[in-house]
């Protein structure tokens, strides 16, 4: 197991920059998830770490050693591909032991490693099958088995669960986490699914347009997004983004929307237009006249919770509550923000304003 250090890495495809100066340190044994929309460069970054693409500028270190020029085979990393990439002409056992056989590992050791890995993944009875005789979930497990059968410096996952149905995905998410807990292996996991990122990561790296937007624990990204991109990408239902104004008055500095006071903020906050981010579950519905007044647009019950779509001075707002509400469209309601539930962003840049505090 090893730490991975990435400093100033850039990558272009022809004239198109894909990664623009990536700096990231992944600690030994850490589970890091790279997340972002398609085309954000997350998969490219993973392939650079793997050695499947050349690094244009910057330095990559694995266990403290520069590996920029090293071929993939010499980096001692294991990778699980989105398509699984199982060798179709080999049995499950041969697929899993290929790496060991390439290293001329003695037969008894190969057999032992194979037995241990297939036991861990519940593949014991499938070892003589060819990949085409396996279900999607089983293929996924074999791909995992191929990675864990040797003990590499780190695991790389390239959207490994995208081809599974929802139920299986949930189960594999849990199993990959459990494997990580058991093996303690440094893992870099690429996904476009923010739920996967939230549930699996020790740390999330949110990326957009070849730039890292924010690095932090799932809670940090959720509670204090660094900019509007992260605010909008992490969390479902998404964070409400509203246009408002910071006004310094006698009763302290407040945030208002269309004249209605929404919350008070710390006195140092720069007055003027501001973009507000509020998580739907941080909005409490009250009786009309208590707090800002909004109109109910639509009520969506999901069983677990109710999502209420509101109109607040012409701006759409979503709230999320586990209470059973009896609201009707067109009805006026009051709304209040819970303490600590407000993020402020600069309208011009979309960057978080540090002073924000509800």
């Amino acid at each position: 197991m090893a730490a991975i250090g990435i400093s100033g890495i850039e990558k272009n495809y022809g004239p198109i920059p894909v990664l623009r100066g990536i700096d990231l340190d992944i600690a030994d044994g850490e589970f890091v998830v790279l997340v972002g929309p398609s085309g954000c460069g997350k998969s490219t970054l993973l392939r650079l770490i793997a050695g499947l693409e050349a690094i244009d500028r910057g330095e990559l270190r694995i266990a403290g050693r520069r590996v920029n020029e090293l071929a993939p085979k010499d980096r001692d990393l294991a990778m699980v591909f989105q398509s699984y990439a199982l060798y179709p002409h080999m049995t499950v056992a041969d697929n899993m032991s290929y790496a060991l056989r390439l290293r001329r590992t003695p037969k008894d050791k190969v057999a032992a490693a194979l037995a241990a890995a297939s036991a861990k993944l519940g593949l014991e009875r499938l070892t003589e099958r060819k990949p085409r005789a396996l279900s999607g979930g089983q293929r996924q497990r074999v791909a995992m088995g191929r990675a864990i059968v040797r003990h590499p410096q780190a695991f790389l996952f390239d959207e490994p669960l995208s081809n599974l149905d929802a139920r299986l995905r949930e189960q594999m998410r849990f199993e990959i986490r459990k494997l990580h807990r058991d093996l303690g292996a440094t893992s870099v996991y690429v996904t476009h699914d923010q739920i996967e990122a939230m549930t699996m990561a020790d740390r999330i790296v949110a990326m957009n347009e070849g730039v890292i937007q924010q690095v932090g624990t799932p809670a940090e990204l959720y509670d204090t997004p660094a900019n509007l991109f992260v605010a909008g990408f992490i969390g479902s239902p998404a964070m409400n983004v509203l246009q408002g104004e910071v006004v310094a008055g006698e009763g302290g500095t407040t945030v208002r929307i269309g004249g209605a006071v929404l919350a008070s903020v710390s006195p140092g906050t720069r007055p003027g237009p501001v973009t507000l981010g509020v998580r739907p579950e941080r909005i409490a519905l009250t009786a009309p006249g208590d707090g800002a007044t909004a109109t109910v647009e639509l009520v969506e019950p999901t069983g677990l919770a109710t999502i209420v779509h509101l109109d607040l001075g012409g701006q759409p707002v979503k709230t999320f509550t586990t209470e059973r509400l009896s609201l009707k469209a067109g009805e006026p309601v009051g709304l209040r923000l819970e303490a600590g539930g407000l993020s402020l962003f600069a309208p011009e840049t979309g960057e978080r304003l540090v002073a924000a505090k509800a």
């Binding site: 398509s83 990439a85 179709p88």
Partner: protein
């Protein structure tokens, strides 16, 4: 459910086409087993009143056909193996790498397929003669290989294209060099492609007449299509022997395809990716 008439029509058309395609073959076989005295005396009949394999015996024992046959086997096998080797290497490069001048090179390969061969027989002869490669099987193999490689490169390239890149990437992550990944992972999956290319080149070389005729004047280096012409003499054509030789010339092609047909069946890559 479609009506019975629909299927009758379909099978009827297929049967008609098959009969049309195979009839010349049948006719050649019929002539080869018709004794000489009946060939012209019985009129047009689907089957002679008396069958004899005398023509086969004559061809095998009293003509140079066994020699032509051996020459053809050597030339066709040599061409097929050489072309497929070059095509596999070239096809892999075209499919997997981007390199400077890739497009012009592919264009050039295509251009070589556009000239009528008659046009370049003379220059080729002029090139080979001083090298001592006329009247030689080696010369024929070289020429055939040169003419078959471009198309075979496209053929192999498309087969490599059909194999997901991730497979060799996975192999390289597992610790294989690119060459090991090619040999151990990609090549076994390209067997259908290799079989198809071998078959294509083999048959092309087996039936080639123009170069075999122009570059060779000696019997010793003649292939069987040239040999077939020997049955045409100034005053007569020995149809019986010619057809017997032709039928026998089909045997190796049939054996060849029988051997490779297992690999021609696609679907070896099924199950490699996705679910």
């Amino acid at each position: 459910m479609r009506g019975a008439g629909h299927w009758t029509f379909h099978y009827g058309m297929l049967a008609l086409f098959t009969a049309f395609a195979l009839f010349p073959l049948f006719w050649a076989f019929k002539v080869s087993v018709t004794p000489n005295d009946l060939l012209y005396s019985e009129g047009v009949r689907l089957w002679p009143s008396r069958v004899s394999f005398a023509h086969y015996g004559t061809v095998l024992r009293h003509s140079d056909f066994p020699l032509f046959f051996r020459n053809s086997v050597v030339v066709s096998t040599g061409t097929a193996v050489l072309s497929t080797l070059f095509a596999a290497a070239g096809g892999y490069a075209v499919s997997r790498f981007s390199f400077r001048g890739k497009l012009p090179i592919i264009g050039l390969l295509l251009v070589t397929q556009m000239f009528p061969l008659v046009m370049i027989v003379a220059p080729i002869f002029r090139l080979l003669a001083p090298l001592g490669l006329t009247n030689s099987l080696t010369g024929l193999i070289i020429v055939y290989t040169a003419f078959n490689v471009p198309f075979a490169v496209f053929l192999m390239g498309s087969f490599f294209d059909g194999i997901p890149k991730e497979l060799e990437e996975a192999a390289m992550m597992d610790g294989a060099s690119r060459f090991q990944a090619l040999l151990q992972i990609i090549l076994p999956l390209t067997l259908p492609g290799i079989a198809a290319t071998l078959g294509f080149v083999f048959t092309a070389a087996w039936s080639e007449l123009l170069f075999a005729l122009m570059l060779n004047s000696s019997t010793a280096a003649s292939t069987f299509p040239v040999g077939l012409l020997a049955f045409v003499s100034k005053f007569s054509v020995d149809f019986g022997q010619m057809m017997a030789a032709g039928i026998m010339a089909l045997i190796p092609v049939c054996i060849f395809f029988f051997l490779i047909q297992r690999h021609l069946v696609q679907g070896l890559t099924a199950g490699a990716v996705k679910g």
